[in-house]
């Protein structure tokens, strides 16, 4: 108890130091660099407010603090771009990006459908299905596992995006080549995780299945596949980002006149940076959404696992 109280006092003292230092900094900044003073003031106020909020450490403040932090960054960004008149070709202000987003929703939606839905998600589903089936197929052969797993681990660390030019050459410019890149990128991480998952049952559980004279199929379906699900979802979650990266980067090697990678590279060429940033916002939202969706399904499927119970 005393330690806790001491800790609070200590952090409060730290804040006092911070306030004093900040005030001195502000006054100095006001004389030396007048344009930077409001930026510093906003940063300081937001940071102190956050430091004060973080001291409570409840559920609500834990949700609010990062939002305030993100909002502060965006506000500082906007103020800095305006105060220093940063050219749009270097860094557009958030308001310009938002305006570009609102003006180009049609384009952004076509790009989203082309790259995310057709390229990334299709490829991810095919790659995941192939990896799961392969894992089940090699599960009965320790020889194949010993041969494939080191290679799988090795390939998972390689810069696989590099095969994009080859696959674009083979499968053409449309989304099929992007889906193919995604299939190759997500296959090995999911395979390695799924093979580890199929081994995750312990001897006692397998013995129980044997004592019920369960055939291979029943043991697989009722015991080993459910036990493998946390591992599988681990692989599926890692690969959502990989899928988006593969689909977008493959478009740099050739694409029809739509798609996020195509739009980013052509808009950069025309120095239309607000549109590029709008595409980045879409990519970020899509990535978070994709991951969140998989995490949600994981929660429903592996509700029994200790990591999901809280």
């Amino acid at each position: 108890m005393t330690a806790l109280r001491l800790g609070r006092t200590y952090s409060f003292l730290q804040n006092i130091q911070l306030v004093a230092g900040g005030l001195i900094l502000l006054v100095a900044a006001h004389w030396l660099a007048p344009t930077a003073a409001p930026l510093l003031a906003v940063w300081l106020i937001a940071w102190l407010f956050n430091a004060w909020l973080a001291g409570f450490d409840t559920r609500a403040t834990r949700a609010i603090v990062p939002i305030i932090f993100g909002g502060t960054i965006i506000a500082l960004w906007e103020m800095a771009v305006r105060a220093y008149a940063v050219p749009t070709v270097i860094l557009p202000a958030p308001s310009q990006i938002a305006a570009s987003f609102a003006a180009n929703t049609g384009i952004l939606w076509t790009d989203f459908v082309q790259t995310i839905l057709k390229g990334a998600v299709t490829g991810w589903l095919m790659g995941a299905a192939a990896a799961v089936l392969t894992a089940i197929a090699i599960d009965r052969s320790p020889f194949l596992q010993r041969g494939l797993l080191p290679i799988g681990n090795f390939v998972a660390a390689l810069p696989i995006v590099g095969i994009a030019p080859i696959l674009v050459m083979w499968f053409g410019f449309d989304w099929h080549s992007k889906a193919a890149v995604v299939v190759v990128m997500v296959f090995f991480p999911i395979l390695v995780n799924m093979v580890a998952g199929l081994r995750a049952t312990d001897a006692m559980q397998r013995d129980l299945m044997a004592s019920w004279a369960a055939p291979y199929g029943a043991a697989l379906w009722k015991l080993r596949l459910p036990a493998a699900m946390p591992f599988l979802f681990n692989g599926l979650k890692i690969t959502t980002t990989l899928a988006l990266i593969g689909a977008i980067v493959a478009e740099f090697f050739g694409s029809p006149t739509r798609g996020m990678g195509f739009r980013i590279s052509t808009a950069v060429g025309r120095l239309d940076l607000p549109l590029v940033w709008a595409e980045i916002v879409v990519a970020a939202l899509a990535g978070t959404l994709f991951y969140g969706l998989v995490a949600l399904i994981e929660k429903k499927v592996t509700f029994w696992h200790p990591s999901q119970r809280n």
Binding site: A54, I90, G162, F252, I264, V268, E279, A283
Partner: protein, 301 residues
């Protein structure tokens, strides 16, 4: 929990895995040859039809394996391309893969150093300041789900419009990509000491600095090395993608792009294999450092 299990499977696998691995590799090479014959045959048939000669099957097979610009080069063609690129040129030549690999490697290492340093520093800050933890950590975790690599070309173009070219823009992308794995892993690592160990330090009336240097930092090293392996692979991918935008003339990414423009498939595959070797080498070096360090600290699992 997962790492412990992975560790057990790895030790189980090191025993007698040479034969299976070689078998699988041989199967892959065989499939590759068959695929090369199949995919290159169409072009040979067209050529033969145009010259109005009929090809026998052995002739057809022989020709598919020595094409100038095959759809899929046969393994020996890639091996020859690789050997000529690595050993057949002066290493200062623009055709030398050693030179291109060095360009990529230097940017990768520079970016890796910057990203790792920044990640560790921020992790130390996060562990010691609750407000920093609650402000920054959710964003750092969320940023892992964002395809950051997609903005690489934009960073290159914007920086070159500001007059910054060469190694630095690529290093920035590599740093950005290696930053987040290190940050997340290091925060986890610095937090591993449990309440009992922290209480022990307090009962010795250790200062904050002593707790950090004697307890938190040593116990974070296994986590740091695990994320360093991820980070260096990510840094390499970042550098290669950073070399893709038009205008880049040096580096493995530029070799990939020019190969895809001119249909030089052997060049693409050689560059790809050099990139793979580079990645494997870098990860192996970090793994070796990890084993050495953890052995000496008595933390080896």
């Amino acid at each position: 929990m997962r790492s412990a299990k992975g560790c057990a499977t790895v030790t189980a696998m090191t025993k007698g895995r040479l034969v299976p691995v070689l078998t699988v590799l041989m199967v892959i090479v065989a499939v590759w040859y068959l695929a090369a014959i199949r995919m290159n045959a169409q072009w040979e048939r067209d050529q033969a039809a145009r010259a109005e000669v009929t090809l026998t099957l052995p002739d057809l097979v022989a020709r598919t394996l020595v094409q100038e610009r095959p759809v899929l080069p046969a393994p020996h063609q890639v091996a020859v391309g690789l050997w000529e690129g690595l050993a057949g040129q002066a290493i200062t030549s623009r055709r030398s893969l050693v030179w291109h690999a060095w360009v990529t490697l230097s940017a990768t290492l520079a970016g890796f150093a910057i990203g790792t340093g920044a990640g560790i520093l921020l992790a130390v800050g996060i562990v010691h300041s609750r407000s920093m933890d609650q402000s920054v950590m959710p964003w750092a975790v969320a940023s892992q789900t964002v395809p950051i690599l997609a903005i690489a070309p934009m960073v290159i173009v914007v920086l070159s419009s500001m007059g910054i070219t060469g190694l630095l823009p690529k290093a920035i992308i590599a740093a950005w990509l290696s930053f987040f794995p290190v940050l997340v892993g290091m925060v986890k690592g610095l937090r591993t000491p449990d309440a009992m160990q922290l209480d022990q330090m307090r009962s010795w009336s250790a200062s904050d600095a002593q707790v950090f240097w004697r307890l938190r930092l040593p116990s974070s090293l296994p986590y740091l090395f695990a994320s360093l392996k991820v980070a260096i692979a990510a840094a390499l991918v970042g550098t290669i993608v950073g070399e893709l935008p038009a205008g880049a003339t040096a580096g493995l990414g530029a070799r990939l792009l020019s190969g895809s423009y001119y249909g030089q498939t052997v060049q693409i595959w050689s560059a790809l294999f050099v990139a793979a070797l580079l990645a494997a080498g870098l990860v192996a070096i970090v793994g070796w450092l990890e084993r050495r360090t953890l052995d000496r600290m008595g933390l080896a699992r």
